[in-house]
């Protein structure tokens, strides 16, 4: 059974990674484009001009195509929690289920109800109600992001929770701690603002294509102005919360931080590596360098982590083997405590069965003493707490580099369009067009850092990933993995084909090739 679970966990993880990465191709655009459409719709409401109507309708059509496939893939995850991760669902469902249900009640119904009005309400409802509907879809989408990130934030930093030995599961002790967890807040703002950036790149990139092709210039320029302003402001949010996020990661998931930076030995006044060539052969405890070459900002990592330039930032080795000087407990000791807790749980159950209340009370005490480390009891070697390093290091650095590039791009494109110098900078618009996929890449990389960086845990410190899977024949998970893969490839191909076609058709603004001022 254990061996089967170990093979299973790889397939279950592969399947979840496949589904969520596919899902997250569509989510950022839903989150950001919904607001961009709402802005445009607002301009239409204010001006009543046919121009803004056609702009709104054009982007709304692309939004709809993207939205549908996001909805379709979202349901898969809700099911997969149960089908592939049933032990997870049982162990933490008491906490994890709540934000999911709240998401459905508050956010999904808002989206679903007003989506139909947004698309079909042009003549059926008043213009005011129609506009409100567009805003409701944007708010609903982002509200759903909030609740799902509350759930994810809790997986990174399980607050408001206690282990219940009678049920053998974790239970909620404070809803407010879970819902208002600083980790969840910072994740929410980071995810949403970065999704706005992806959407802004999307709108800017497609509009750039129209500029290159000399079509729909008025619409393209107006869209670019909206997108670059929105994108630039959001980028600032991304950077601010990135810093904020790193601060919380340092407090709550020091191993993830060390992995992101590829830092083996901790130090005081640690520098932040902005760019470097990571040494893949580096092993725990050897003398090889971490990087063959790196550009570092001195002291910055210490400052980001603990708001103190001289603070100690633990490295991977400190966390694995412990560092008594800096008062850091090693993983071996934690595993030991965890195993003691698990053994006590067995004895507790036995005592309960035999109605031996005295023994039960004694064992319960031992469980409580070791509760914090109970997840470590499922591990065997201290080295197991290290996540896959190369993928985390590279993803993190690539994400940071891309994020910085986007800020610059928004500024430059805005300046060129605003001063009406488009003809002189054709190359810039090609760059802008080809930056669309980079936005998606950055957001996927961000999730890789967050999720792979958390390994071996599915819930940080309390539940290792391999303890979350369903006991089921691996063949079943493999079958559905391939099934989803085929389905996704087909759906993606159709979606892309429709998107490209819609973009080629362009907005129905009655004037295909005439230019004009962007701001009116």
């Amino acid at each position: 059974m254990e061996l089967n679970d170990m093979v299973n966990v790889d397939w279950a993880r592969a399947q979840f990674a496949l589904t969520i990465m596919f899902h997250f191709i569509f989510v950022p655009l839903t989150l950001g484009l919904s607001f961009i459409v709402a802005f445009m719709h607002t301009f239409y409401y204010k001006t009543k001009s046919d121009f803004w109507k056609s702009v709104t309708r054009f982007w709304m059509t692309l939004f709809g195509v993207n939205f549908a496939i996001g909805v379709a893939t979202g349901l898969i995850m809700e099911f997969e929690f149960g089908t592939n991760w049933s032990n997870y669902s049982w162990m933490v469902g008491d906490i994890f289920g709540a934000p999911l249900a709240i998401e459905g009640l508050f956010a999904f119904f808002l989206e679903a109800t007003f989506f139909a009005v947004m698309f079909f309400g042009w003549k059926r409802v008043s213009p005011r109600f129609h506009l409100i509907s567009s805003w409701m879809v944007a708010i609903g989408s982002n509200l759903s992001a909030f609740w799902i990130l509350v759930a994810n934030g809790w997986m990174q930093y399980p607050v408001g929770t206690k282990f219940n030995p009678d049920m053998g599961r974790f239970e909620m002790t404070s809803f407010l701690e879970v819902a208002l967890s600083p980790v969840a807040m910072s994740k929410f703002i980071h995810t949403v603002s970065s999704s706005f950036v992806v959407s802004a790149l999307f709108v800017m990139g497609i509009s750039s294509w129209y500029i290159i092709k000399n079509r729909h210039l008025k619409m393209a320029k107006a869209s670019i102005i909206i997108a670059t302003v929105f994108g630039f402001i959001s980028s600032i949010g991304v950077i601010a919360t990135g810093d904020h996020g790193a601060h919380y990661v340092a407090q709550t998931q020091p191993m993830k931080l060390a992995a992101m930076e590829g830092m083996f030995k901790g130090e005081r006044g640690a520098g932040l590596t902005l760019f470097g060539l990571f040494n893949h052969n580096k092993k725990l405890g050897d003398d090889q360098p971490e990087y063959f070459f790196e550009i570092q900002v001195p002291y910055l990592l210490s400052f980001l982590s603990y708001r103190d330039f001289m603070s100690f930032v633990p490295g991977i080795e400190d966390l694995v083997y412990g560092n008594p000087k800096e008062n850091i407990m090693g993983a071996a000791e934690k595993i030991d405590k965890g195993k003691r807790g698990l053994r006590a749980l067995d004895l507790y159950r036995k005592a309960k069965k035999e109605n031996n209340t005295q023994e039960a009370a004694a064992q319960r005490l031992i469980i409580e003493e070791n509760e914090k480390y109970i997840g470590y009891g499922h591990l065997n070697a201290p080295e197991e707490i290290v996540p896959p390093l190369a993928i985390v290091v590279h993803s993190f650095h690539a994400m940071v580099a891309l994020g910085s590039y986007f800020v610059l791009l928004f500024l430059v494109v805005f300046a060129v369009v605003f001063t009406n110098k488009c003809e002189k900078f054709k190359l810039l618009f090609w760059i802008s067009f080809f930056s669309i996929p980079l936005g998606y890449l950055a957001s996927q990389l961000g999730w890789i850092v967050a999720e792979v960086g958390r390994q071996p845990w599915v819930i940080q410190d309390i539940l290792p990933t391999h303890k979350g899977v369903t006991h089921i024949a691996t063949m079943a998970v493999q079958t559905t993995f391939w099934m989803f893969l085929v389905l996704f490839v087909i759906l993606f191909a159709v979606e892309m084909s429709i998107m490209v076609k819609q973009i080629k058709l362009g907005p129905d603004d009655g004037s295909d090739s005439q230019g004009g001022g962007a701001h009116e």
Partner: protein
Amino acid sequence: MNSDISFVFLQQYWWFLVSVIGSLLVFLFFIQGGQTLIFNFKDDLSKKLVINSLGRKWELGYTTLVMFGGAMFAAFPLFYATSFGGAYFFWMLILISFVIQAVSYEFRKKSGNFLGAKTFEIFLLLNGVLGVTLLGVAVASFFSGSPFYLDESRGVHWQSTLIGLEAMLNPFNISLGLGLLFISRMTGAQYFINSIDDPNVRNLSRRQTLVNFVIALPFLLYFLFYLVTRDGYHIDDGGVVSLVKYKYLSNLLELNISGIGFLLIGLLLVMYSVFLTGFKNSNKGIWISGFGIVLIAFSLFATAGFNNTPFYPSSYDLQSSISIYNGSSSHFTLSVMAVVSLFVPFVLGYISYVWKAMSQKPLTSQEIKDDSHLY
């Protein structure tokens, strides 16, 4: 069982809520039922009208399904873990049938769709047939039981090599699934009559209302007959589960108005709606049958979960059966979620408001011709 009164109250309150959401979901299956009728409308205009009238409501049904799952997860996580993790292929089949629904309306008629409109119409048909039938089978398994046992740490071990698909081989389960499918086709037709102002669509739908009701009847009667005569799972005061004769009949009777009462009133309402639609030329049938269906579904959910009955019984190991008492979230979580549930009427309120605003005038062929944004 638990001696804490308010905990028990919350567990029951949450089963009540799950039953309400589930019953509304069953009503909203008119969307799926309607999807299975698409191919009955041969001319292009009728088909367009039918698909577009469904296209404005499908998300509501889909979201209600998500909500039902979410509420089950939050309130009864042991059921979620056991059923989804155990009846693996069964739930995966349901999942796929809804995934293909979600893209179909949006993609079907868009240029660039290289699979063709027909592919997505077939997807809608599949969602209608599989989605409704299988969810009906799932509800029936609340009474007939499933082959699993739970180990000491509540891990599920399914005892059938078909991992879930075996539920479809049980005639009792299948009779509810098919009965529900044809009733949904009936309400789908009634929905068209109400929401589309077109003589062709309305004539054909009136015929379909009658035909599908007549087909549904034997399946539903078969199901009800075996429900009231079969042995059922019962939890005694010590928490031990055993099979008891006429358990579900006595549940229906003991639940009184919300059991046998709702069931009979619901059946009468459905029959009355068929009469109005088929013989009195009324367009309002969907509302009467819809209300009736909500009542019937509620009585079934109530029968499955209340009155010391495990709602997810194990036919393999009786003591692994899951009830609202041993399968629920903690007292604390249920009370937090109970506070959250106070917003349900608010959500239902704005849904009804929007529904009314969007659907007070039925869809006409003129509107279809004028509007450039179409499914």
